[in-house]
Amino acid sequence: MTDAIDTDAQIDEEPPTRYGAPLTHSRGQQVLHPDRETWRSTAETLFADNWTMITDLTAVDFLTFEPARQLPKGVTPERYEVVASFVRFDTGERIRMRAQVPADDPRIDSLYAIYPGCDYQERETFDMFGIVFEGHPDLSRILMPEDWVGFPLRKDFAQGVIPVQFKAPQGGGQR
């Protein structure tokens, strides 16, 4: 934790690495930036190093994100980012993995075989963002109906609006 740099300040410098991936800090929390190819092997390393469980897995769609992305040197920003959080019980430490996933090929390796606890959350991320987790045993929609078209949490998925009808008050509305 001590040898890491502050993400916001020094992104031009060569970042320190941990588990073979660039390490940054976000508000004091450790973040690893593996690429898509090393996503699964980094998780395997975490598992081998006694990280107890995957607590969270989700994605972010950076389509309409306006400020400059704060990423360590060597990491190219892409439209999607898959985020997985891990915890280890022996030290109470937490770490997060963030991998860039391009819009034209939204696929990444599944972590199901290493941490089966991400089963539903990978399905949820697929359901909401259309990111394909390769190697997942049953990548199907989980929250939306099976025949749903589109991926609701993508930024270009329109948010439904129900128009409000204003009616004249009872008795003609004239005073």
Binding site: M53, I54, T55, P116, P137, R141, L143
Partner: protein, 448 residues
């Protein structure tokens, strides 16, 4: 329970090729040995299930039957639907089908300001709404890098522990009802209502409080709050003793729960199960003790663990966690500091009501905060708290505007639901009800 008349082929004599294809694959080189009962996870789509309706009956070979349980079934706590593959009365494989309560709350969260976000997240786990508000507020404060005053911290702790009592009382009621102790439903509800009455007095609402907000809490505790809390602390112990007479020591109750829906510690860890369910398997993990947030390192309490991981342990742990929460509440009564109940940072906090009558600037400031909201510096954080159901997390991404760019809630109910097929594997369908009940899923949180 609706029993569909169709029969499907057993695994050996599969009636259709689709049924065979849905068996859980076994990827090479993984860690799936930790889940010895993973064959019990049914992977079957609605289309595949519908196709099997036409499968011919085969009296020569053994066939299993696909039974649909829920989504509106009294023991499924709302709208959980289970697809059960039955061999007579034995559940072989099962699949929880969820999404019936999905309203896109994470999408909604992207269009509400950080100030309005509390009203959205509080509706997720409706049995423990204050925890949702707490985790959202903690994440926002982490992004803002503001420290809240000690009194606000202790008020949050007090309210959350009282909410935990209410949530576990609800579990007592529904668990009793699911397993045939129907009078328990009335008792549990009666006590929970008393607890909610206190929450209503403080926040104005029985549920969905929007009381814990970024920067502190919405209002200070009302006059006489101490007496109200003491009333609860006096009222509950004899009632909990009644529960012990009615359930804990009673042979029928024990027979019904002991050894039913067993989950091994290794399975629970592999499936990312947290909360009382993980503790029932013997793993002493409680974020209040292991990663103290708020002021939990200033109070004494025990982390309760089970030994067998069965439904009885789940029940006993929750019953005794009510007592532990009361112990914490008593200490909070002694240690409640005086001071401000919200941070006096004009960026985050609206001016006091009285100032608005005197000062034009205060009026403008008040108007701005409630129309535009306050800006949160860009960044991303993951914050987690120990809710009555396990690790409740909030992942926030801010782009520097007054609304979150992405708001994700790590719902313990959703993740814990993954253990259901494992718990129910090769058990009776009657015991499936006990397993569902001991997982205690809140569907509003599962589907969000």
């Amino acid at each position: 329970m609706t029993v569909t008349p169709e029969k499907i082929g057993s695994e050996e004599t599969s009636a259709t090729p689709t049924a065979r294809a849905t068996r859980t694959p076994d990827p090479e080189g993984g860690q799936l040995d930790r889940l010895p009962r993973r064959h019990a996870v049914l992977r079957m789509s609605e289309v595949q299930a519908a196709e099997l309706a036409d499968a011919p009956l085969d009296d020569e070979n053994e066939q299993t039957m696909l039974v649909n349980m829920g989504p509106s079934h009294p023991s499924t706590h709302g709208v959980l639907r289970l697809m059960l593959e039955m061999d007579g009365e034995i559940v072989r494989r099962s699949k929880p089908v969820i999404g019936y309560l999905h309203t896109g709350m994470e999408k909604t969260g992207e269009s509400l300001t950080f100030l309005q976000g509390g009203t959205n997240v509080t509706r997720m786990d409706y049995a423990a709404p204050l925890f949702n508000e707490l985790v959202f507020s903690l994440a926002t404060e982490k992004l803002l890098e503001v420290d809240i005053p000690p009194r606000a911290t202790w008020i949050r702790m007090l309210m959350c522990e009282i909410n935990r009592i209410a949530s576990h009382l609800l579990f007592m009621a529904t668990n009793g009802m699911d397993l045939g102790a129907v009078s328990m439903m009335i008792y549990g509800w009666r006590e929970r209502e008393q607890v909610l009455r206190f929450l209503e007095k403080v926040t104005g609402l029985r549920m969905n409080h929007n009381y814990i907000r970024p920067g502190g809490v919405a209002a200070d505790l009302p006059d006489g709050w101490r007496d109200d809390v003491l009333f609860l602390l006096d009222m509950l112990p004899p009632r909990l003793a009644e529960y012990d007479i009615l359930m804990s020591g009673q042979p029928i109750w024990r027979e019904r729960l002991q050894g039913v829906g067993v989950l091994a510690a290794e399975e629970a860890l592999a499936l990312s199960v947290t909360g009382p369910l993980l503790r029932s398997t013997g793993i002493a993990r409680d974020m209040r003790r292991d990663e103290p947030y708020l002021a939990y390192d200033d109070v004494d309490f025990d982390v309760l663990v089970g030994t067998r991981g069965d439904s009885y342990d789940c029940y006993a742990i929750r019953l005794n966690e009510i007592r532990e929460s009361m112990r914490i509440v008593r200490q909070i009564l002694d240690k409640m500091p005086s001071g401000d109940y919200r941070v006096q940072d004009t960026k985050v906090t609206p001016p006091p009501r009285a100032r608005i009558d005197e000062s034009m600037e205060a009026l403008i400031h008040h108007f701005k905060i409630f129309t535009e909201g306050f800006k949160v510096p860009e960044g991303e954080v993951y914050v987690a708290v120990e809710s009555p159901r396990g690790e409740l997390g909030c992942y926030l991404v801010s782009d520097g505007s007054p609304t979150p760019y992405r708001m994700h809630i790590r719902a313990p109910s959703l993740v814990n639901l993954q253990c259901l097929p494992h718990k129910m594997a090769d058990g009776l369908v009657a015991d499936a009800v006990a397993s569902i009940s001991s997982v205690d899923p809140i569907m509003g949180e599962v589907d969000r």
